[in-house]
Symmetry: C2
Subunit: 270 residues, 2 copies
């Protein structure tokens, strides 16, 4: 990261993350700024994944894609280092999670391609400001995430099931939550399901596949949004020789205000 | 192509093209239907090109991308065969044009990836209906296309200059032409330049780099649109070992009405 003398919450926070001073989940950090999921793959798998993202824009809204070997962002942050500026990563070998480091500099290689995807943490602040409670923020937890039985559109070697995040919303606020999140098409947009979790293949809300469980109070409906952990489920099935992702909930905090992002940041390249 | 018993101008025309009964340029065929540029590359270059298209959406608006080895469309036409259903192709080896066949079945391989991009022929019919003259249609010619000095955004190994198509428009209709074409974001949209060709590096309008020259009458302004031949200029510079494209002006005629396409057909995958 170039030190431009600027000081903003994302830049300050990413500096602390790069120094290892913040290693936890990021849901409550820098409210109002867009956060991003990360997928890093060798060049041989990069076409498969880019096509997968384009065919599955709901879980995988592209914010930025870097050239092979390039670790520095241009669009979502000015010259941030993808190897250091996320609080925690997951390292995958042949579809198996093997390590959760806080820095991946030692794993970097010239053929690695980095993909940043929108994240629903980006609209949590807008929900709160609209009076919609966001339980994982209230409980200071990571958001609960679940594998579903909904299949992704296949692309070359990648497929797998949709992963969703869940927020319990009071019944009379569900429409408002849908309307507010629907404005953030670049951060998964409106929910994909509400109500009975079994309908989308979730057996037990108290045992999320990723993140923490949160309290569901009487009169609240579980509401489910497409989630940027979906690629991790696809990688577990396709078993590429090597991959790095963010650890669920441990996101890249961008310099962009959440309302700035649309479905596709790549058109604003220059 | 499956014969579904349907009969439409695109399906009938593609059948004739597949049988070798039509081998010429397509500007006047099936007015009102979207036409598409084609780029076929080996898998090793597919990521580079997909990233190039996303970073250069004005010349390269993606309509459909096929899986490696898959020659059949799903989105822009029902099961059309990319190897037969364009009237003429260009075959490139190390950046050199080596052949212009009317069928590429003998060149097909399991690692080839096909990309379809929007084409400005898609809005010619809307221009005519709005009362804007389209000279290459009047003169029954291919549209004139020119290399410019405007650089594309680089993506991995691909870069090169923007290529534009040109239509001479009466001065008092230029705004209407801009407005009408601007509605077709998936087919290059509004013009990128009007007036002095030298400003964008074009020396002689009578000698187009691709297609035919057309008459420019007194009181008419040359108006330039981003063109889907831009990838061919990029391939000439990057020199991948093998590539196939459409021959300029010899497009794939889709089953989609021009007004149906937006900037990004890939979200409608399923």
């Amino acid at each position: 990261m170039t030190d431009t003398g600027q000081s903003s919450c994302p830049q300050d926070t990413r500096r602390k993350i790069a120094r290892g001073e913040i290693t936890g989940q990021t849901s409550a950090l820098c409210p109002g700024y867009a956060q991003a999921n990360l997928v890093i793959l060798p060049k041989d798998w990069a076409f498969d994944f880019l096509l997968f993202a384009l065919r599955n824009p709901k879980p995988c809204p592209l914010m930025e894609v870097l050239d092979p070997g390039d670790p520095y962002t241009r669009v979502i942050a000015d010259h941030a280092d993808v190897r250091k500026e996320l609080p925690r990563y997951r390292v995958w070998r042949r579809g198996e999670l093997v390590e959760e480091p806080t820095d991946i500099s030692h794993l970097w290689a010239d053929d690695l391609v980095s993909f940043f995807l929108g994240c629903s943490f980006s609209f949590d602040d807008a929900l709160v400001k609209a009076g919609v409670p966001v339980r994982h923020l209230e409980q200071q937890r990571n958001v609960p995430m679940y594998r579903t039985k909904l299949p992704n559109a296949k692309a070359a070697r990648l497929g797998g099931p949709l992963v969703v995040s869940m927020r319990p919303i009071p019944l009379d606020q569900v429409e408002k939550a849908r309307e507010v999140s629907g404005r953030f098409g670049g951060a998964h947009g409106a929910p994909v399901h509400q109500g009975d979790p079994a309908e989308i293949g979730i057996e037990n809300l108290e045992q999320p596949d990723f993140g923490d469980s949160v309290e569901i109070r009487p009169g609240e409906v579980p509401v489910f949004w497409a989630c940027g952990v979906t690629p991790q489920a696809a990688l577990m099935e396709a078993k590429p020789p090597f991959a790095i992702t963010h650890a669920p909930g441990h996101m890249f905090i961008t310099d962009l205000k959440a309302e700035q992002i649309d479905g596709h940041g790549l058109g604003n390249w220059d």
